[in-house]
Amino acid sequence: MSITRLIVALVCSVLAGTVSGEPSLPRVAQAAAPADDWQWSMPAKNFASSRYSSLDEVNVGNVKDLRVAFTFSTGVNKGQEAAPLVVGNTMYIVSPYPNILYALDLTQPGAPMKWKYEPKPEPASQGVACCDVVNRGAVYSNGRVYFNTLDGNAIAVDVSTGKEVWRTKLGDINRGETITMAPLVVKDKVLVGNSGGEYGVRGWLVALDAGTGKQVWKAYSTGPDRDVLIGSEFKPYYDSDKGKDLGVTTWPPNAWEQGGGTVWGWISYDPDSNLIYYGTANPGPWNHEQRPGDNKWTAGIFARDAHTGQARWFYQLTPHDVHDWDGINEIILLDMEWKGQQRKVLVRPERNGYLYILDRATGEVLSAEPFAYTNSTHGVDLKTGRLQINPDKQPKLNQTVRDICPTAPGAKDWNPSAYSERTGLLYIPHNNLCMDVQTMDANYIAGTPYVGANVKMKAGPGGNRGEFSAWDIQNARKRWSIKENFPVWSGAVATAGNVVFYGTMEGWFKAVNAETGDVLWQFKTASGIIGQPITYKGPDGHQYVAVLSGVGGWSGAIVSGDLDPRDGTAALGFVNAMRDLKDATTKGGALYAFRLP
């Protein structure tokens, strides 16, 4: 007992020393992460997307005593990918389709429901958008909660009444266009992007007036410069991104009109430069031989002026993507020393398996190191910024190609990492999957038979399908990692108590030591976890940790979608790697909130 305490004290003092003694640890961009208010009002905690809280009541020494404070059922047994929000005395939760918004009163025992708002997405359209009914959460600003519905509406709800203030129809589900992302509010604008690239949707990000819901600007991800909002301010770092109307000329004629590049992931914002940063999804829906070229501006990162939407720079992570590597993952804004110079950077753990550090003023790639096993590429040429392709591991139509790593969901999918400036480590939930691809004999859709891809995903080297890794940003290397049986499809949250939280697809919610990766505590929730944990200070003055449990999403579709484990090619081949998930968990949809006794 006393020895444990002593060790804890020692660890804490050593850590404190690290922080104060070596200012070289990368810092979260200050303007993008103001002093902690101990709430959780936006998806990534702050504009820098650190997903780090300065709360430290729960720490390495006492986290083992965490216990359930209250629970809440979302009433929908589909994949729960959202982060709950906490503002003041209220928690807000968005469910998967039908996208119900709940407000819970945190001042009362058991956190009873204050109100719920049901947007009633078009039920007639069920089946038109077949695959993905998840929702990645809401954002709070100035007395309103903003969120999106699967059928393509952005909605503002007054938190005092639970009533709709405005609703703007942005996507058309009849054309396969859906919205699953969590919006972000920057000053007086709500930023929303679309999903549905597999249906030939053209990607965009819009800025809506937060007061009225009216569109202020709209930036497409493909097409002529005027549609992409590329003008005189556009100064990309690499030559391959310079030129007129590359969103047209890097495609066959008109293919950009259905080119994908949807915007269904995360947005970060730097108030100092007034720039937003976000990624675009993969190109589509043509077979890649039918769309030769770099297919701008898909699978890359845009920096745009938040006020006008005008692009400042673009960097293409995966030119001419053939793997379905959407470039939509989270972007963490840090200030760090790089080769003796202080640089303002952004950090991106990318689907293609590389941890990118870019100068966020210019778009220059400072480093791109593999954080997971990959054999389909050979790194990034820092002179040209170009990803180096391994031709032996590209899917081919006329033969079976084995052991392509990583797979379509990538080394890491949408589920966000967390950064602690106490440790200088980025905590990355990710996959360890490889795949075999072959031509399938017969497929059939909308009355039309065709030959499709037979994809079988499987565990990568080591046999574990998931991993939770701590990545040392300054030294560009893995510090520690925890192997998980299933892909880690949950988000992460880091805390000043030096405890990091994440969930597994079996349903374990885990607290680990931020320095060592030792598992300090774990709790088995009712269903697999693919949600984003948060932490906040409750009305009682105590620290809470909360997460949604409820398996689903792409990786968990075998459970939430009742897929047949014998059909290994279902869910685009993911089912093959997830056959045993049905034995490990069942459907669910519930919030769990924890605190110390």
């Binding site: 359209s125 089946g127 038109v128 077949c130 695959c131 058309d172 009849n174 054309r175 396969g176 597999e198 249906y199 030939g200 066959p252 004629p253 008109n254 293919a255 259905q258 589509g284 829906p285 043509w286 077979n287 890649h288 031989e289 039918q290 769309r291 030769p292 053939v322 379905d324 899917p395 139509l397 006329n398 379509a408 031509t439 399938m440 004999d441 017969a442 497929n443 059939y444 859709i445 909308a446 009355g447 039309t448 038979p449 065709y450 030959v451 499709g452 891809a453 994809v455 979608g561 009742d562 897929l563 047949d564 014998r566 059909d567 090619t569 279902a570 685009l572």
Partner: protein, 273 residues
């Protein structure tokens, strides 16, 4: 076990199954409500008519569940227990059990009657003409002619028409065929039944020509079409197959009435040219 006892117990099981199904003579079918010539909710499609024939032979009443035939169709319908039969799917489709095929069709070229007739993917004029094909985009896979064109370097003059289109419109895949009449494209390459039906109903009717070669590297241009049941539902599979065999002439007549181009024993197109 005496054979009489076994027979009795089998009958008992069937009765139980019937009772559990709610109606002893109910054929539960999942189908697209808006995709002629195959099916629609007004029962105007040829799959609707063929289902009627099958059901009559089985002495069953048809009960439809309507669902757009897109990604997840099988999972959300047959696999979700909403129905027992999907009429019209490709023979050998994974994850389901398919019956014997009841026709085989082919991808076809659709041209205006006064225009040069395209018969082969190797026709040099395909390098110049404006070509329309359906876009599927299933993880980078598309209709076989699209892959065949790409392999020949025919890319810049190929235009994609969303197979799904705008679902509020009638029969969204028909936009591709209509584009030939409207002169937006010079030639469409589409799945036969769609082309035969809508091509024949344009003014003037369009010319429909089977694609050659019938197999281009790994990509077949012809496909056998069957009905699908759940794996393990051998009873229904055999009932449907018996009905297909017995009612063959009626089924052929329906396919003819809808101008389905066929490349099988009943083919009007397979004759030497």
């Amino acid at each position: 076990m005496p054979s009489g006892y076994r027979k009795a117990s089998v009958t008992g099981l069937l009765l139980l199954a019937s009772v559990a199904g709610g109606n002893a003579h109910e054929l539960r079918v999942c189908s697209d409500p808006n995709n002629l010539p195959f099916s629609n909710s007004r029962l105007e499609g040829y799959e609707n008519k063929i289902v009627d024939v099958i059901a009559r032979e089985m002495q069953a009443n048809v009960q439809y569940t309507w669902w757009p035939q897109r990604r997840g169709f099988v999972r959300n319908t047959l696999k979700a227990g909403l129905c027992d039969l999907i009429p019209g799917t490709v023979s050998g489709l994974g994850a389901v059990r398919t019956t014997v095929p009841y026709y085989r069709s082919t991808y076809v070229f659709i041209t205006r009657p006064e225009a040069h007739e395209i018969r082969s993917l190797d026709d040099p004029s395909l390098r110049k003409l404006r070509i329309g094909v359906h876009l599927i985009g299933d993880d980078g896979f598309n209709v076989p002619p699209a892959h065949a064109l790409a392999r020949r370097g025919i890319i810049d003059n190929v235009q994609g028409f969303s197979l799904y289109g705008d679902y509020r419109q009638d029969n969204p895949p028909a936009r591709l065929i209509e584009a030939v009449t409207a002169g937006k494209i010079d030639v469409a390459i589409a799945w036969g039944p769609l082309a035969g039906y809508f091509g024949g109903r344009q003014d003037p009717p369009l010319r429909v020509t089977p694609v050659h070669p019938i197999r281009d590297e790994r990509f077949p241009m012809t496909f056998p079409i069957a009905m699908a049941v759940l794996p393990g539902n051998e009873w229904l599979k055999h009932e449907v197959e018996d009905a297909i065999t017995k009612r063959r002439p009626e089924i052929d007549a329906i396919l003819s009435a809808y101008d389905v181009p066929r490349v099988d024993a009943f083919s009007r197109l397979a004759r030497p040219q």
